[in-house]
């Protein structure tokens, strides 16, 4: 598919209201109130980054139909564990994985798997992040 000239772009992104509404809904469904807190905290300093999170990250990307919320969150937990330099965001998405129906077991399994792909330190630090989130929520890790 080619990108068509401006005057004839049937595949243009949704208009602003639609992206905002879609994004707000996805942000809430996936991150509960954690994502809202992140966006609001950007307050006076960088409100645009908060808008991009809602409109682009959640409105344009996360809300797309081709991949379930559960798979999206597990993929995000994997990536942030592997990167090892984004602890706050990893905690938000471990919580998000729980919110969308991933079991604590599934979340732990994804992090454990990163011992193979990005090394044991990354997996240890990912488990530490999961512990913080699970303890705050009173969640226990079962067999499934």
């Amino acid at each position: 598919m080619l990108v068509l000239p401006i005057l004839a772009t049937p595949a243009l992104a949704q208009d602003g209201n639609e992206r905002r509404a879609t994004g707000e809904a996805a942000l809430k469904r996936i991150t509960g109130s954690d994502g809202r807190a992140v966006v609001d905290a950007l307050g006076d300093m960088a409100p645009e980054l908060g808008e991009w999170i809602v409109d682009f990250a959640y409105g344009d990307v996360f809300a797309r139909p081709g991949l379930s919320d559960a798979k999206r969150e597990l993929a995000t937990v994997a990536a942030l564990t592997a990167l090892g330099n984004a602890r706050p965001q990893l905690e938000v998405h471990i919580g998000g994985a729980l919110n969308v129906g991933c079991s604590p077991r599934e979340i732990v399994e994804v992090i454990l798997q990163m011992a193979v792909y990005s090394g044991f330190p990354s997996a240890l630090n990912g488990i530490s992040a999961a512990r913080s989130v699970f303890e705050a929520r009173g969640v226990k890790v079962g067999e499934k």
Copy 2:
């Protein structure tokens, strides 16, 4: 569960034959012949690394029951896309994702999502890896 002293370790890892058998089966189921090729190519130089791949990465980690093959492979594709420095392995696991039943659409969606978590360059390079694998397999990306 505490790690018990050696003389009383009921939870010890499987014995060598079991781990090898489990690993070989998982390696084949997930990577087809690609993983075998990687292990064999380690030849005279580092056969131990090949054994660890079979016994540990696949036998101990990948074959665990708490997370489906499909979710494991999507998580691995996400992590390797985010890391951006493991193209050969990313291609193996994009192929692995197809082998275990992920659709090309799901694989592309995971890579696209990395535009948010590790940046557009990582997503672009991940799409490039997926293109190589899909073209080699005559696979097309559909709606689902």
Copy 3:
């Protein structure tokens, strides 16, 4: 500034046509035809990523008034040199830096500086990328 509810969002992103137009203009101004080629090459596989590049990366982010094109491109060259895993994109943005008026000297200086912040290998590989771009364009590095 708080993010207001949908029904009263005076700060909503531009509508689709505006973002597309802004993005296309910035993409051309900064990357010449290189960015167009990247977007077009996403073809059937991931046209959405191409749209996000135009609408978000260039329309929403790059075209913002608070930082000059020259400073934006030098910052991008620095970041991609430091990351060391995005050679194709680094080459596009070294070209982009030339397009927006940065001198070859300025570009080389930014890359050299990364020897301090991300190490000599990253700087060496960045210089290699700059060499490819400069040779293709017949550009020489002067004193300024």
Copy 4:
């Protein structure tokens, strides 16, 4: 230009006194007292690292004429935001960017741009670093 044998090296680095003087001046001009504190804190453990910071990082690299202090600091802020694993140094250089005349707006714009090149988590964590520095200095982010 070839590197000539020792006996005929017209392009030798400045002698020790010159590099030290140049470095001390640049360190002060760019980092205020923050850089001095970093160097001094290396105290008994690694004074050589402090000397290399002054003589090499600032004397040989940062003080070079081909790129303005402002562009150097914005490039450094970009790279350290993208790397995401050097928070203390990122804060020093956000402060350095202010010291050499970059506006808070320009600094925020560079960090926001990293949402595209190294992902939203890196940009969020960069904004967090900028917040710490700006609050400590009573700085507000304006339009320019």
Copy 5:
């Protein structure tokens, strides 16, 4: 060397008891009680990761004869300093390097060398980790 079928695998890994015993001994010899604490802390959440540390990381990898403990620990300190995102593990291995007979001087030299290969920020943060460990142990850095 090809990986032979299960029924004829003379090169199979040691059986479980051997790997566990080898691993426990290496863990203790190298990390003192620090490694034991890491393994135990994985408690209810991820005991498998603790077992993999003992059996694989120490039993299969670290205990191998072809490289001395001292060289193994210096290599690990170098890698974790360069990665810059694994501070807890870097501290464990700085301690491990001391345990196996590396001098504080050798450890500092490895970290300083990372200023060249992964940049000054990584070296500064590595020195900070070393300071924590040395102070806790009352260790001073001498000439050798």
Copy 6:
């Protein structure tokens, strides 16, 4: 040790001739002709980076007495394997490790160990780099 004012700097770096001589000698001893080739290839584009490699990386850092050449090269091989984004430099230093007396076995062991600290992909790609160097030199990996 405090950094003293310019007028009384007994701990100043060596003067230019000394650093250059020390650096050239270390460059040759450790990298054979490979390092020379890297420095020379910086030619017209970035001769300063070549000078910094000789004077700083080798003259000031690598030639320091507190750590043997063998340990320095093994540490560098470990770090560059872990980083995974500096293949050309990793090859130079695998060669350097051979030049200073490390056995092929020791080099392979360091790379294998990175499977634990930075993941299997990094180790696989490091083995690939070692294979290139060993084959070019007709080197075989023995038991020690």
